[in-house]
């Protein structure tokens, strides 16, 4: 297991190098010069002299490969340069926003589990019953309702009409409720159905028949044998979703004025803030790879066959 983790971590190096190069060159394919964008944001007419001056200020007047190597050299020392828009260190900007996004994602993940675990289990146990039908409808709704619409509806109902929660912003825990629910709903719907299917597969297996033949209590059969096996695909999907949720807060953060990475990402794209976009892409890649690794490791604990089959 130790070697496995070391090898996987070593594999991170070429992945991150590749991502850094792709992010660096891809953002430069987008039309518009960041120097001009900066001037337009300042409501300053971009004359050629002004553009040249700002380009020199931002270091964009050097050959592309030099810019990349310079950026890479500094990035290895965790210096991601200065934001074009704010002239603040990029890492500081990211670190300012990351806790908010992490808080939102963790709260959403907790909600996803809180909703999907009992709902999935009950839907499987009472297959085709009222609860199963209800969870099916909710799953369809959760998966098909767009985030932004749900966000506004929740705001309208819980903040404006019922006056229970603040509309937007970050401050107290009350501010977290609506964005977390908005972000969690589509994932909760998916996992409810996934767990239900997985539970039904397990319930129909021979090993479940055998455990029942052994006379084990139903709670033990369900908890120790059925659920443990049924959780395997859910863990995989959940691990992948953690990255998606962290990277997918863009719309929710903008609607709820949640000052996280999503808001930073959107403004950076509009501002053509290359250093922030590059750092954001790199961190997101790192998170995705880390989530995959965590899932693989969790899998090895949950499913002994994987340990015996291939891993060292």
């Amino acid at each position: 297991m130790k070697w496995y983790i070391i090898m996987r971590l070593a594999g991170l190096v070429p992945v991150l190098l590749g991502i850094s190069a792709i992010a660096f060159f891809l953002v430069r394919l987008v039309p518009c010069d960041p120097a001009e964008v900066y001037l337009r944001l300042s409501q300053v007419p971009p004359t050629p002299e002004m553009v040249a001056a700002v380009r020199a200020d931002l270091g964009l007047d050097r050959p592309l490969h030099i810019q990349y190597l310079d950026w890479l050299h500094k990035a290895l020392q965790l210096d991601f340069g200065l934001s074009f828009a704010t002239r603040e260190p990029v890492l500081a900007e990211i670190m300012r926003c990351f806790p908010a996004t992490l808080q939102l994602t963790l709260a959403s993940m907790a909600l996803v589990l809180l909703i999907s675990l009992p709902a999935g289990i009950l839907a499987a146990l009472y297959k085709d019953g009222v609860f199963d039908q209800l969870s099916r409808v909710l799953a369809f709704l959760g998966a098909s309702v767009p985030n932004f619409w749900l966000g506004f509806m929740l705001m309208y109902l819980f903040s404006l009409k019922l006056d229970l929660l603040p509309v937007l912003g970050r401050g107290t825990a009350a501010h977290l409720a609506l964005p977390a629910v908005t972000l969690a709903m589509s994932y909760a719907a998916t996992y409810t159905r996934l767990l239900r299917t997985s539970m039904l597969d397990s319930l129909g297996s021979n090993f479940v028949l055998y455990t029942r033949a052994r006379g084990l209590r139903e709670r033990l059969v369900l908890g120790r044998h059925v659920l443990k096996n049924a959780l395997l695909p859910v863990v995989t999907a959940f691990g992948m979703s953690a990255g998606h949720m962290l990277a997918g807060t863009v719309i929710v953060e903008n609607i709820f004025a949640w000052p996280g990475m999503g808001m930073l990402c959107v403004s950076s794209i509009f501002n053509r803030d290359y250093p922030v976009i590059q750092c954001y892409a790199l961190i997101m890649a790192l998170i995705f790879v880390a989530c995959n690794l965590a899932v693989d490791i969790a899998y090895r604990f949950l499913d002994p066959r994987i340990r015996l089959g291939g891993g060292r």
Binding site: L41, P259, R272
Partner: protein
């Protein structure tokens, strides 16, 4: 199983925490409801408030903290502010300002000619960044004659000097303690210390900024004690926050939709206000590309577009129909130019005269087998531009013109303006206090849509020459004549299709009173506001 139970319990507790906490009342909303404290929202962070630089600092926030030598008032009138009076030399090259006595910065230090000169010098040391502003290019030197006399010497007589000294940036005054050790404000400032009525007292980047009343303020102090600016990027969320009472005021034409404004207005629960013309929503027609090279085609487009339908249908009457590039209430712009009124017949006749004929069985006119197809470029995220473009597409179809709508995100759209790759493009004027002199000046710069649109005019060189003359003219009569030529020629040549005069909109709760609009488009007047 036990582990599973523990994990489940942990998640359950976590989620419960979120929800039980969520059921509490919003403390912040309660705070903002206090009298003498006002909350409004803005779409972007206020920035570092460096008075001598630009983005990310927001105009309104800079204007709250820093003040100019002179102030831009209604109709372009220049009024004394930090300078009580001024004398302009006979040749128009020397301005001697008598500075107001007793003015203090928010840290208690005095504002005098030496500090003023220090600020001028800091801006001039970074002149490269301010090249767009002719004022900075024209300043030769400054001199602190005595404690309260500042002399500014210009290279040439430059008539808009006072208008540009009134701008929100880059020539407002930072207190000495705000300067970095190097003295170069281009590298940043230590602290935003100004002479203005407000002081930044609390700030959380990307979330909110709190401004408190400046106790050292020399003028009439604001009635409010505290102003909180919440950063809310989304317009509809902003409206919901307003309805909930989390914000007291929404101001700014781009900060909420016209539909929302009308809904809030018709509810009768809130106060609403619309400003006079601030700038012009206009389309530039390219005189150097395809069919719009022809004057008659450009004129036909003007006659073929029903602006009143746009005013009624898109703007619900919140903006007024524009007949000229600049509203007549702007300086030198009341020229009595004849509007190119909506007339399908006239538009058709002009196209016929130009040789663009309707062929039997076809909807689109042709000339030598080439169909009359034009491209109108707009910002895809700008719902108003899109709506105006769609109305125009329908109108022009009636006169046999096929209008293709090209929607792009804002920066690509700007690039297209600069490259001149358009037949028609949205290109608003800059608004007060830049109009007309700054916009007219920029018409000479090739990277502007205005230049590109005018580049096919036979008299373009003459227009540019007259623009150069008007900016350096010291004689009022000559200046009027020059503006009459420039604006009159552009009107005759139909390179601009003015749609509407843009206004600023505000909506506020009924316990807010004393609100008014600033004559400057980018300034928010909070001075007279009271909250009951």
């Amino acid at each position: 199983m036990r582990k599973l139970k523990i994990t489940a319990m942990a998640f359950l507790l976590c989620a419960l925490l979120v929800f039980t906490a969520g059921c509490g009342k919003d403390k912040q909303a309660g705070d903002t409801a206090k009298a003498k404290s006002l909350t409004f929202s803005w779409s972007k962070d206020i920035g570092d408030l460096n008075p001598h630089l630009y983005s990310p600092s927001q105009f309104f926030a800079q204007a709250m903290v820093y003040e100019p030598l002179v102030k831009y008032a209604e109709g372009g009138k220049i009024e004394p502010w930090l300078a009580e009076s001024w004398v302009i030399s006979q040749d128009g090259k020397e301005y001697t300002f008598k500075l107001r006595k007793g003015v203090k910065f928010s840290d208690g230090s005095s504002f005098d000619a030496r500090v003023a000169k220090k600020n001028f010098d800091a801006v001039l040391a970074n002149a490269q960044r301010h090249k767009w502003l002719e004022l900075i290019n024209q300043i030769k030197e400054t001199e602190a004659v005595d404690d309260h006399t500042l002399k500014v010497v210009f290279k040439n007589a430059y008539y808009p000097a006072l208008q540009e000294l009134a701008l929100i940036r880059p020539l407002r005054f930072l207190g000495p303690a705000g300067f970095p050790d190097s003295g170069k404000t281009s590298e940043g400032i230590k602290k935003p210390i100004g002479t203005g009525p407000w002081v930044l007292s609390e700030y959380k980047k990307g979330e909110f900024a709190v401004f408190s009343r400046n106790d050292h303020y020399w003028g009439t102090k604001p009635k409010l004690e505290k102003v909180t600016v919440k950063i809310i990027p989304d317009g509809e969320s902003r409206v919901l926050a307003f309805e909930k009472g989390e914000i007291d005021l929404i101001i700014g034409s781009g900060l909420f939709s016209i539909d929302s404004f009308n809904r809030l207005k018709s509810s009768g629960k809130y106060g609403t206000m619309i400003s006079g013309p601030m700038s012009t929503r206009t389309l530039a027609i390219n005189s150097n590309r395809g069919p719009t090279r022809e004057l008659k085609v450009r004129q036909a487009l003007q006659h073929g577009f029903n602006k009143q339908a746009v005013i009624d249908g898109v703007f619900s009457g919140t903006e007024k129909k524009a007949d000229t590039l600049f509203s007549p209430n702007f300086p030198y712009c009341d020229l009595g130019l004849k509007p190119l009124e909506y007339s399908v017949e006239k538009a058709g006749a002009l196209l016929d005269e130009a040789g663009w004929k309707l062929v039997a069985g076809k909807d689109v006119r042709e000339k030598d087998g080439v169909p009359l197809e034009l491209e109108l470029c707009f910002e895809s995220t700008n719902v108003i531009q899109k709506a105006v473009a769609e109305v125009m597409q329908g109108d022009l179809k009636k006169i046999g013109v096929s209008l293709k709508l090209v929607g792009e995100e804002s920066q690509s759209h700007s690039q297209r303006q600069k490259d001149g790759k358009f037949h028609l493009v949205f290109n608003d004027t800059w608004g007060a206090p830049y109009d007309p002199h700054s916009l007219v000046s920029s018409m000479r710069v090739p990277s502007h849509a205005d230049y590109q649109a005018q580049s096919g005019l036979p008299m373009k060189a003459e227009i540019d020459r007259k623009i150069g003359e008007v900016l350096l003219s010291t004689d009022e009569k000559t200046r009027r004549e020059l503006y009459a030529y420039i604006l009159g020629t552009l009107h005759e040549q139909a390179v601009y299709l003015p749609v509407s005069y843009q206004t600023n909109m505000a909506v506020y709760h009924k316990n807010v009173s004393g609100f008014s609009f600033s004559p400057q488009a980018n300034e928010i007047l909070l001075h007279g506001i009271e909250k009951n």
